[in-house]
């Protein structure tokens, strides 16, 4: 193999390959030398350069000049500054990667800041609410408060009661189904602002089986739908509508008054 067979860039670097290995300070040069070592003419070039350098080192240096160079290293590189460090491509890449990781952590933290036991199920049910058509529910026109008895009598679902805040609403339909995690979910369709109610078992501690409690009403949202959740007697109640938190707030505020 000949040096001429290397790429132009590698040939150029190999032709000025430093005589001492410790003077090789970059990856491109190291790569070029590694390739060039496979060629005979580079081996001859290195022998030539070493011989010339050996001859150069025999040149006597007058003592009055030699004393100026008391140390071996006559070249001091520029001091490492923050600016140089910041411009290093490796440092820039590390900084970007750390920035992205930190961004993901912050996003995850903010996303789950208002989480509560059962918030995952509530978000999933908001998705169900957005895709539900009224015809898949059994038509039941009554007061929402009456549905608790229906769910208990017909489906043996204890404590599936609509809270007093939403008890006066008139229903259009209802159904009970098993969601993707096997939870028995009751869904109620209302005349009021196409609102929907969901009743589902509260989240429980995996080890003790104890209900993970939380107090008051908690908001949850998903793709333009907003819900407000309350847990009572091991059952969560979710009132959902298409809109924002401010659209649901009056119902909760009314109850507090």
């Amino acid at each position: 193999m000949k040096l001429a067979q290397l790429s132009r860039r590698q040939r150029g670097l190999a032709l000025c390959a430093p005589i001492s290995e410790e003077k090789i300070d970059d990856r491109a040069m190291r790569g070029a030398i590694s390739q060039a070592h496979k060629t005979d003419d580079f081996v001859h070039q290195q022998a030539f350069d070493h011989a010339v350098n050996a001859l150069v080192r025999t040149i006597p240096i007058p003592p009055e000049i030699a004393e100026w160079f008391s140390t071996e290293h006559i070249i001091l590189g520029p001091p490492r500054t923050w600016q140089r460090l910041a411009r290093n491509p490796a440092m820039v890449a590390i900084a970007i990667a750390l920035g992205v990781i930190a961004g993901i952590f912050v996003y995850q933290f903010v996303e789950h800041l208002h989480d509560f036991p059962g918030s995952g199920t509530a978000r999933r049910l908001l998705k169900v609410a957005s895709s539900t058509r009224s015809i898949i529910l059994d038509p039941i026109k009554t007061d929402a408060t009456a549905l608790g008895d229906l769910f208990f009598m017909k489906h043996r679902l204890a404590h599936y009661d609509v809270p007093p805040e939403f008890a006066d609403f008139h229903t259009l339909g209802a159904r009970v189904f098993d969601d993707e995690e096997g939870l028995r979910v009751a869904q109620v369709w209302l005349a009021e602002k196409r609102m929907q109610f969901f009743l589902f078992p509260a989240e429980r501690d995996a080890k003790t089986g104890k209900v993970l409690d939380f107090s008051g009403w908690r908001y949850v949202d998903h793709e333009g739908w907003t819900g407000v959740v309350q847990q009572r007697n091991g059952v969560c109640f979710l009132a959902a509508l298409r809109g924002r938190e401010k659209d649901l707030a009056p119902y909760i505020a009314k109850a507090k008054q």
């Binding site: 000025c16 430093p18 970059d26 011989a51």
Partner: protein, 142 residues
Amino acid sequence: MMGDARKAQDVFHATLREAAERAVNSEAPRDPFWLFRAARDRCLEASEQGLQAEDVDLEEQEVAPWAASQIERLDANQLAIWISGAPDPQRTALALFYLDEFSHHDLLALTELTPDELAKAISNGRQQFQGWLNTTVPHTEL
């Protein structure tokens, strides 16, 4: 660079004097290669005075496998004179390269040449020196 120890010494002292004067006037150069640049400039300036090397096209020959043994037969002054006779920037490139004190990046910064120009200067220098070696200390005579 000079091919003459006494002239080189003069250049060295003149450069040091300038560095000292700059330091006294709080104008110490921040460029780590300043000393080498200044010395190179003084060498080139000094070379323009006195006898000039003949401008001839040196024959270029492939670096021979036995080149090292040819070089061992030389005197350091012969090498110094040969390099000092080379045209600049080839002379600067060869002198700094064979000092073996600089990395590739340092050489590019010092000579102010592009990577291709530096490679060409050093490579041609090698081949011309090999041509000169073949004439001065032919392999058959070893």
